[in-house]
């Protein structure tokens, strides 16, 4: 935190300087190279009660990417952000998103206890917040 005395005084001196009542921009930028992309995955399974967990997601994604791109695919780092029932939010490096999505889509899935499991890519974006904000819009129309 920037609570120490020198930084705090610098902070106020900047914000106090030209400001009166009017609003104004102090600094702007455009995010050109987002570091990560995010994807919402859904488990599609013949077993209706099947749910996802952290390890399963990693092993499914790993299998899918290995099948698609071999060792290169298996090396794509995937971070599991949240798992809830059949849904899962993951993070991948932005340049790898194309490969990740293609791998997941092309994956034939696994068979566990006679039930076929595949992953469906529901949505992806460079900005997690807008995905979170848009999540659940379907329920609006179905209600």
């Amino acid at each position: 935190m920037t609570q120490s005395t020198p930084s705090h005084s610098a902070d106020t001196s900047i914000s106090k300087k030209p400001r009166l009542e009017k609003s104004h921009d102090l600094l702007t930028c455009t995010v050109k190279n987002p570091q990560f992309s995010y994807a919402l995955l859904e488990l599609v399974s013949e077993n209706e009660d099947a749910e996802l967990d952290n390890l399963q997601i990693q092993s499914y994604c790993n299998a899918a990417l290995r099948q698609f791109l071999g060792i290169t695919g298996a090396a794509i780092p995937i971070d599991v952000l949240k798992v809830q029932g059949k849904e899962c939010w993951v993070r991948v490096p932005q340049p790898e998103l194309g490969a990740f999505a293609a791998g997941i889509t092309a994956w034939r899935g696994t068979t566990e206890d006679g039930a076929q499991n595949v992953l469906r890519l529901r949505q992806c974006s460079d900005y997690l917040g807008s995905m979170v904000g848009g999540h659940g819009q379907d329920t609006l129309w179905d209600s």
Partner: protein
């Protein structure tokens, strides 16, 4: 080869970041032309609004006015004004609920079916889990007062926006705030480092704000990765929260989901900012209803840093055409 191909699976968006000062806010006369108000106004229909505030400030902010569907004299009806929950109940429901209340109406005119009124101050110190009165209220809500209700609500001091309500009743969609309390996380540095502003360093601004945007998004997602005690194996996730302290912090999230117009959202933001303690931070986001095939949502997210009540950091996510 494959790995470096530009993503063709979604319509790319751009993120515009602004750090600025919003000046004094007069909730009676909101500015329309200046940021962040103009940015908010440029959104289409709003689908979801998320408000994040530190947990300890939640109870003080709960000046929200709520009104359930129904008539005082006929149905079971509920109102919530300045934290006081008032329930107008039929005799039969009142008896089943097991709450203490008073008869309602003029003496002598109550007839054979007296109605009852029950009042609870939800902000009083006794209104916590474990206290008798509160547990009894929770029990009553679970067992007796459990029919789905339609709610109208408005922020304090505001008359209910009739345009919004017209739309709501026409489409039969209810916008009601949903509160998620005690989201566990760590204390992240939310103030803009003064060196970035002093030097006008855009590269650093992009880095710092990208991390902050990701963290705030994870809070909205209620991801377990941001919790102070999240010790997930690096094989599962290598997410690291932005710099700060390791101290635990609790955040409260209030979500409005449905179909809202930007005037209403703008008023909500203004009321929230003026009523919230100037020492504390808050984050406000509004996501557009997506009407395009790709399902891309335009969004605006705003962070008011702690101890800088007139400053703001804003992210605008826009679909590139």
């Amino acid at each position: 080869m494959f790995a470096r191909a530009p993503p063709s699976i979604y319509q790319p968006s751009k993120c515009f970041v602004t750090y600025g000062s919003m000046g004094h806010i007069d909730t009676k006369q909101l500015p329309y032309k200046s940021k962040p108000w103009s940015s908010l106004g440029s959104l289409d229909f709003v689908h979801k609004v998320d408000l994040l505030i530190p947990q300890e400030h939640y109870e003080r902010l709960s000046n929200v006015l709520m009104l359930s569907e129904g008539k005082v004299t006929i149905d079971n009806m509920f109102t919530l004004i300045n934290g006081t929950l008032t329930m107008y109940l039929e005799k039969e429901v009142y008896e089943r609920a097991g709450l203490t209340g008073k008869p309602y109406g003029i003496k002598g005119d109550r007839g054979l079916k007296p109605r009852w009124i029950v009042t609870h101050d939800l902000r009083s110190p006794s209104m916590f889990h474990g206290k008798k009165g509160f547990d009894r209220l929770v029990y009553a809500c679970k067992k007796v007062l459990n029919q789905p209700m339609k709610w109208l609500f408005s922020d304090v001091g505001q008359s209910i926006d009739s345009g919004l309500l017209e739309k709501l009743s026409a489409t039969r969609i209810d916008v009601k705030p949903e509160v998620k309390q005690h989201i566990q996380t760590t204390q992240v540095a939310l103030n803009m480092p003064p060196s970035i502003l002093a030097e006008g360093d855009r590269t650093d601004l992009e880095l710092v704000t990208s991390d902050l945007y990701e963290w705030l998004s994870l809070v909205r997602l209620e991801s377990p990765r941001i919790a102070a005690n999240d010790d997930v194996d690096p094989y599962i996730s290598r997410y690291k929260a932005p710099d700060g302290t390791d101290h635990a912090m609790e955040v409260c999230k209030i979500t409005w989901q449905g179909f809202m117009n930007t005037n209403w959202v703008r008023q909500l933001l203004a009321e929230t900012i003026t009523h919230h303690s100037s020492q504390s931070w808050l984050s406000f986001s509004a996501t557009e209803l997506s009407t395009n095939v790709a399902g891309v949502h335009n969004e605006l997210m705003l962070l008011r840093p702690p101890k800088a009540p007139e400053e703001y950091l804003m992210w605008e996510i826009k679909r590139t055409k």
